[in-house]
Amino acid sequence: MSAAWLVLSRLGRDRSALLGLVLIAGLVSAAVFAPLLATHPDDVFELHPAQRLRPPSGDAWFGTDRMGSDIYSRLLYGARITILIGVIAVGASLIVGVPVGLVAGHYHGWFSDLLMRVSDVFLAVPQVVLAIAIAQTLGPSLPNVILALSVTYWPWFARVVYAETRTLQKEVFIESTAALGASPLRLTALHVLPNIASPIIVRASIGMGFTILTAAALGFLGLGPPPPTPEWGRTIAESREFLPGAWWYAAAPGFAIFLTVMGFNLLGDGLRDVLDPRLRRGRSARDG
Amino acid sequence: MAELLSVRRLEVSFVTEQGVARVLDRISLDIAPGEVVGLVGESGCGKTTLARAILGILPAAGQIHGGEIVLKGRDLLREDPGVINDHVRGRAITFIPQDPFSSFNPLFSVGTQIMDLMKWKSPRRARGNESTRTGSTLWPALLRGYPRARHRADLAAVLDVVRGVQIPEPAQALGRLPHEFSGGQRQRLMIAMALLPSPDLIIADEPTTALDVTIQAQILRLLRQLVKDRGVSVLFTTHDLGVAHEICDRIVVMYAGQEMEAAPTDAFFRRPAHPYTRRLLDSLPSPDAEIRDIPGEVPSLIDPPSGCRFHPRCDDATAECHTSLPPARAVGDEHDVRCHHPLDAPVETGA
């Protein structure tokens, strides 16, 4: 509890990290309170062809799209999709990647080499390309997008966890706790994992930004959830034929994506600065 | 007797996160020409800081507040830094570091590194028409060449000294990289480098701590023989009293930034006059299997005890010990003690 407070207060001093936190908070509130914040909540489903492609006004703050729906409201509901995709994809990557990394890191020999070679193969292919291939094969839908993203992102976790586990193995306290009779399971779950939590958290935060960007790219290419789902990437794709006239149509979702990804990146960078070196410094012993 | 080096009432403090640490508290120390002086003390006593202060290589957080460091009549603290760089550091005073494994640059051969030293610090450089200043800008210094005649003379001197430190096949050895030598051999090379500029004083900072006991014995014998042959003084810091016994003519013991006692080696071990010295000698592991330690802990230097810093742990402490720093009192031939109540009776401390 006190460690979390320490982290937050240190984070507070880093202005860019604070900005990141604010942006993420904005995203989350937009998603959670969408029904309350949206001016035209029904526009997610309803069409008003008469009001199509209107520029931003008092009624539609970000203008209307080709179906006449209020872009602002659709963006808010789109935030829900964005968060859903991000959390599930990164969560699934974590659930697969972290154990793989732990196992590969703990054991030495052909099995761990095999695991890491497999993850290397996944890492070698650009994530977007692989995601496109998977989404294309399985068809455009929300679950498929999440699947494609998880399959391509788990190696990043595996790699970080593997490297950190191997480094930690050299620490005296790991060897001594093993000498004390601790089983590999106990060692890994209770000693290794808490000590590598920081890099995992940092990678998860940065991963969110990356994943959301890739999801938007997939949506843009038409591989994401089909209409009328107000997914941000798809909205930008829809806007292409109306540019540059209906500039608001692309600018609004574009900015939303930009601010979201930047927010996660800033937060991730800030966390990296706060979590790793300073907490490790606290570990050093005083002379006595 | 004219002292080679005289440290008088030196005060050094370090700025740390927790406050200002008063690392050296009005320390005084004398080294005579040709004398090997041991600076003995436990960790945190300030011996490494004192060695660094003399060389002028204190880290940025260290500040000198007062006192003098007088080398052959000139106060080093009031000299031009350029003069110190050219004539004192690496010339009049050379240094042997503690860790033989990281003292050489791993990328260059030892010969290259030694000759690089000779280019700037060779004793032959002072003679002749060569300017002894490195120049006010970096550019001329880098372009400055190494006169061929001097190079030949220096190389001959290097081979001679390397042979003198018992490195076999000196010419081939110079061409090898540092990692091809063992720790003991690297320390021999460091000794060679310390002797080559023909210094007046060598400061050796725990040079045998990282070595095995049989190698240490070889190195100590070698070092003592070489410095006695050349009449070079040595300031030898160590926490190992046995090592001090082996190589030093005189021993100065420090505690928490103050010097407690200075005596010739024999008197130091047989007739210690300071209570701390006595407790320290008693806590050495003895064959009779009784173990005596010193109660209490080394004090913090940020908020040190007033007066004599050992008084909280001293059985004989009185009010005077709290209030005033004891003056140095002579209790024997060249034997000084900083204590208000020095021990009188000589105690036979034998191995």
Partner: protein, 324 residues
């Protein structure tokens, strides 16, 4: 210390070998590092056996192999009458209850993210079925034994001083009430007065918990104070083994003689003036044939290169030399 033939040794090591493969840049094995090359010794209940040698002699590897941190390449390790060198991992872990290992810096053996109290409970959780209350009682008792207070329990290791961390590290091991404790360079790098306190603590714990120590150190003066018997190692083998007092009074192996001659004697004449041993110990990757000390031994003859001297019993002392 007299031992009757009826009492069995706590630890019996027979011809223990531990080699490490030496690999080149491609991962191909180019040779062997013979860290421990055939060591036989016994440790009797209640004693402190010293194991001395310089760097590279294999004493630390020996300790870790006995402890199970390294697997033996060959040889037998019998603890409490039971062979433990080749046990399956699960069973080997259970031996830790009786056989423990103290690192040079016991404070480093604590998980920096765990509070002291949890680190102290952990050995009991692993090895016993004691309930929470019983564990707490044990932990309290151990804390008192090492001279720490309850208030220290809820701190993290970095909030304690180095000396306190050392005591916690020791306490953690003692909660198991082990029979044999292997101490690996416990006073290396310590100031003289701190060393004295640490040795005093070890003595006190030995009598309070009926411990037996295998004391690995390169510091001969410390070993002389603490150990009743002493074994000298050189390049992976024992060259001399006997009662400490007797060995110091009259070492029989040339290496032991040089080793003792190198140790400064305060209050006496300078030893290094007469010190005669030249050269450096050879590489454990490249061990000389026959007697491994022959490259530096003043007594070396042809037989020393041809035949490796076995560790023989010469009037109560074990010496590995053709001329002892």
């Amino acid at each position: 210390m007299s031992r009757t033939a009826a009492r069995a040794p706590l630890l019996e090591v027979v011809d223990l070998v531990r080699h490490f493969p030496v690999r080149n840049a491609f991962g191909r094995r180019t040779g062997w590092l013979r860290a421990v090359d055939g060591v036989t010794l016994s440790v009797w209940p209640g004693e402190t056996l010293g194991l001395v040698g310089e760097s590279g002699c294999g004493k630390t590897t020996f300790g870790k192999t006995v402890m199970g941190i390294h697997a033996p390449t060959a040889g037998e390790i019998r603890f409490l009458g039971r062979e433990i060198g080749r046990l399956p991992k699960g069973e080997r872990r259970r031996i830790a209850k009786d056989l423990q290992y103290v690192y040079q810096d016991p404070g480093a053996s604590l998980d920096p993210r765990w509070k002291i109290v949890h680190s102290l409970h952990e050995p009991l959780i692993i090895h016993t079925r004691l309930g929470r209350a019983e564990r707490e009682a044990e932990v309290q008792a151990i804390l008192r034994a090492v001279g720490l207070r309850d208030t220290h329990l809820h701190l993290y290791p970095h909030e304690l001083s180095g000396g306190q961390q050392r005591r916690v590290g020791l306490a953690r091991i003692l909660t198991l009430r082990p029979r044999l404790v292997i101490l690996d360079e416990p006073t290396s790098g310590l100031d003289v007065s701190v060393q004295a306190s640490v040795l005093k603590l070890f003595r006190q714990l030995q009598s309070e918990f009926a411990l037996t120590y295998l004391f690995i150190s390169h510091d001969l003066a410390v070993v002389r104070t603490m150990c009743q018997r002493l074994a000298v190692m050189y390049l992976g083998k024992i060259v001399e083994l006997g009662e400490t007092r007797a060995v110091f009074a009259g070492p029989r192996h040339p290496y032991t003689q040089s080793l003792l001659a190198a140790v400064p004697r305060i209050g006496g004449p300078r030893v290094t003036q007469e010190f005669a041993l030249e050269g450096e110990p050879p590489n454990p990757r490249d061990v000389p044939s026959g007697c491994r000390f022959r490259t530096r031994c003043p007594l070396a003859k042809d037989v020393c290169a041809a035949e490796e001297p076995p560790l023989r019993d010469v009037g109560g002392r074990h010496v590995a030399c053709h001329f002892a």
